[in-house]
């Protein structure tokens, strides 16, 4: 009689999207360039434009009406309309106004001056608009989404997006916000080196300990991983979230400008011009030994001879700094250079000859660059997107890049989760009051590995109120940190004796508030309400599917515990939920689901009863066996 029901293998629940063939994509959202890729049946493919180009420059040009152009066309406008064009926005993700002040001299951003004391996300003046890095990144993501949709011929609304391993919590959640704004559900944020390792590991069937050296436009990461039978276990990771090819460009631009005389104060567009020339020179010297470049500022042209030795001299300190980070990460991983079987190069900046030379020297082996260093991260992301939606035998086990802690008395940091702890992780720490009758406690969450609070990054502050008056040291405040598989932190705090609780999903001091986010979502779609309803409906359907699957599995296993009447009664309710799930009435589905819950209660009791009986019988038999063997 169970033949009327559709039966699945236990655990082999079909994914809710199964059958409609919608692929989730992998996106490498880079400082300089971005790439989108897909994977189907384990075969990844980077999506290219009509000219065969995979790289989409992460540059956005804005029109006065706020519409955006992304990519090569935007980059071409950089010289003519510098005030309308913005690039390297990734360097500002999750950054506050104070952080950016130190960068503003270096990077060609027109930062909106905010009132003194105001925190929150930095805003840029572009083409007369005040834009956040989240909005600008969302525009880049929308362009990538469009490219994928054109290629695939269907809507793309799920993606794996990569972030630098060394990105802090603020930058990670800013990236997730940007995706939400672009109408993309992030299936997982994956660390860039880990994604690259996945691409290599699957391609080369690599086993053993590998290092991934990832030097991009604005960030540097080094990860040490162990690969074994489809498991990619990150042993340690480190980096510098503000070091990359951009800094090479700056060193060269400054060198060129230093060779000129008589310039007045340089404008933003002069700097952009100099940087562009510097970048061309840098790229050219990846192959050539030397060359000559012309810099045109204010109608004054200057000629600059530039060779490999000069270039090496300018960037040597930066490259040596990456080597030092590699050494300490190897120590953290408890791995020597000899134990590293291979070094994978990722990121466009690993094309710089001095970088390759120094990496080869450090690990005493020629690094691997078989997969295009510009595309390898997107390929890994696409493979992971397929693994998450379709299923796979591979597994990425990642770690926290930076220690997470709390401010204690005297501006010291008490570490709660040390760096390189496997995620997801949850850890609790108890604190107490330091004054008699203290009724509130400020909780300050910081990220970083320095001893003093102000040397680390402030992630969030919140207050725990209503602690009952007690003598100093008597209250027991328990603060719990939970980091999910995306590397995002949630903090809860409570007083143990009274049960007072406070929870904050760490929306960093530099992030967007929920209201700001809602406003932006509303502005961008106007139909935010419909969207929300659609989302709730989809979730209700997934939940109903889970429920139906559970009941059908139970009936096929234990249906014999029921009389024909009981069986048919349940089956009727199952059918009504199946019918309801085909429609778009959320209330009807919920009601039918509740009915099913009610209708299967007695059945569940029978099953439990039998399960316990047979387990106890097992215990008794074991006990008998034991006695028998003793006797």
């Amino acid at each position: 009689m169970a033949t009327l029901l559709q039966i699945h293998e236990p655990g082999a629940t079909p994914a809710p999207h199964a059958g409609d063939e919608r692929l989730a994509v992998g996106i490498d959202l880079g400082t300089t360039n971005s790439v989108v890729a897909i994977s189907s049946e384990g075969k990844p493919e980077v999506l290219r434009d009509d000219d065969g180009k995979a790289l989409v420059p992460s540059v956005v040009a804005y029109a006065p009406d706020g519409s955006a152009i992304v990519g090569g066309m935007a980059r071409n406008l950089l010289l003519d309309r510098p005030e309308c064009v913005v690039g390297s926005i990734k360097r500002l993700m999750g950054r506050g106004v104070e952080d950016v002040k130190s960068l503003a001299g270096v990077l060609p951003f027109d930062i909106d001056p905010q009132p003194e004391g105001e925190t929150g996300m930095v805003r840029l003046n572009v083409a007369g608009h005040k834009l956040t890095p989240v909005k600008i990144s969302a525009d880049i993501l929308s362009a990538l989404k469009e490219r994928a949709e054109e290629h695939l011929g269907h809507i793309v609304d799920q993606a794996v997006i990569t972030v630098p391993a060394y990105f802090d919590d603020a930058a990670r959640s800013a990236t997730k916000d940007a995706a939400r704004l672009a109408g993309i559900e992030v299936l997982r944020l994956v660390n860039e080196p880990t994604a690259a390792a996945l691409a290599y590991g699957l391609d080369m069937e690599a086993e053993g300990v590998y290092a991934v050296y990832d030097l991009g436009g604005g960030t540097f990461d080094i990860s040490i991983l162990r690969m074994e039978k489809g498991v990619f276990q990150v042993l340690a990771t480190g980096g510098d979230a503000a070091l990359g090819g951009d800094d090479f460009d700056h060193a060269i631009a400054e060198h060129f400008i230093g060779e000129r005389t008589g310039d007045k104060e340089l404008t933003g567009s002069d700097v952009k011009m100099a940087l562009m020339t510097a970048r061309l020179a840098k790229e050219c010297l990846s192959d050539a030994q030397s060359g000559e470049w012309v810099l045109d500022i204010d109608g004054v042209q200057s000629k600059h001879f530039f060779d490999r030795a000069t270039f090496d001299g300018l960037v040597e300190d930066l490259v040596t700094h990456t080597q030092d980070i590699c050494k300490s990460v190897m120590e953290d991983a408890n791995v020597t250079p000899e134990q590293v079987k291979g070094v994978v190069l990722v990121g466009g900046s690993t094309r710089v000859p001095l970088v390759r030379k120094k990496v080869a020297a450090l690990f005493a082996k020629e690094p691997l660059a078989d997969i295009d260093p510009d595309e390898v991260v997107a390929i890994g992301a696409a493979l992971q997107a397929e693994a998450l939606t379709v299923g796979s035998d591979t597994l990425l086990l990642d770690v926290t890049p930076l220690s997470l802690g709390l401010e204690t008395m005297g501006g010291l940091v008490e570490k709660v989760i040390p760096r390189n702890t496997p995620i997801p992780v949850a850890k609790a720490q108890e604190f107490t009051t330091y004054m008699d009758g203290q009724s509130a406690m400020a909780v300050h969450v910081v990220q970083g590995d320095r001893e003093m609070v102000d040397q680390n990054r402030s992630l969030a502050r919140f207050d725990l109120h209503g602690i009952p008056p007690m003598t100093a040291g008597a209250a027991r405040i328990r603060v719990t940190f939970a980091v999910d598989a995306d590397g995002l932190l949630t903090v809860t705090a409570g007083e143990e004796t009274t049960g007072i609780e406070a929870e904050v999903a760490v929306k960093p001091s530099y992030g967007l508030s929920e209201e700001e986010m809602a406003d932006m979502l509303y502005d961008s779609m106007k139909n935010a309400k419909d969207d929300m309803e659609a989302r709730l409906l989809a979730e209700t359907k997934v939940e109903a599917g889970r429920n139906l699957n559970a009941v059908s599995a139970a009936l096929s296993n234990d249906g014999h515990l029921l009389s024909d009447d009981e069986f048919n009664a349940i089956k009727a309710v199952v059918q009504s939920l199946e019918e309801a799930s085909k429609g778009d009435q959320r209330d009807t589905i919920t009601a039918a689901a509740e009915q099913l819950e009610e209708a299967t209660k007695a059945f569940a009791e029978k099953r439990m009863d039998r399960g316990i009986r047979s387990a106890l019988r097992g215990v008794e038999i074991d006990a008998l066996d034991e006695q028998a063997s003793k006797g």
């Binding site: 992971q384 597994l395 299967t600 439990m608 399960g611």
Partner: protein
């Protein structure tokens, strides 16, 4: 379910080691906490780290075996396996993966493992755990080594101290293994404290060495 029988039923369910699947409501007994009927992942529950990873309670852990058990559990229970499932299953899988990571991190290193074992087996014997140091000999020894390290001016001198610390750590771990086998929790506690100091010293030699280079 709030009838008079429910408590009795719960007690016998606990006794039998059977829990009710939150999804299909049927009984679950498997070691890998996935419901054998409907496949839903089950919450981690309160079991010790050894039981969670399927190991016998012992100080002697083969790290290669531990890795395999750990990988195998995460293969089934990591949130990546539940990316398209219902929000509730996703949340439960995160709790599972968190509990497994915690168990793995604790049992992987001898010091954390020893600390945990003393806590696990010593409840009643040593309610305070191993945080009390009243071992004069250990304090003297540590101070001596610290002073020698502070005075070390060459990497060779540091290496002598570092090697000594490494050798001591090895011996300490061997002794701990024996003490735990003999169920001498107080002795194990004393040595766990010693191991803590030795590891700290070894870490300090590493930092001192880097400063000298």
């Amino acid at each position: 379910m709030d009838g008079p029988d429910s408590t009795a039923e719960k007690a016998s369910a606990d006794e039998a080691g059977v829990i009710a699947c939150w999804s299909c409501k049927g009984p679950v007994t498997q070691v890998i906490p996935l419901c054998e009927t409907c496949g839903a992942v089950q919450p981690p529950g309160q079991i010790d780290h050894f039981q969670r990873l399927g190991l016998a309670v012992s100080f002697d852990v083969n790290v290669a075996d531990l890795d395999q058990l750990y990988f195998d559990l995460q293969r089934h229970l990591h949130p990546d396996r539940f990316a398209t499932r219902s929000p509730q299953e996703k949340a439960i899988s995160q709790l599972q993966a968190t509990a497994i990571n915690d168990a793995y991190e604790t049992l992987k290193e001898p010091l954390k493992r020893a600390d945990y074992l003393v806590h696990l087996r010593g409840i009643g014997v040593l309610p305070e755990g191993c945080n009390l140091v009243n071992d004069q000999a250990l304090l003297m020894e540590t101070m001596e080594l610290r002073e020698a390290l502070a005075e070390a001016e060459t990497t060779d001198q540091v290496d002598v101290l570092s090697n000594r610390a490494q050798d001591d750590i090895k011996v300490c771990i061997e002794q701990l293994s024996k003490l735990f086998k003999d169920d001498d929790i107080e002795g194990a506690c004393k040595l766990t404290t010693r191991l803590k100091y030795l590891q700290k010293l070894s870490e300090e030699t590493r930092i001192h060495r880097m400063k000298l280079i």
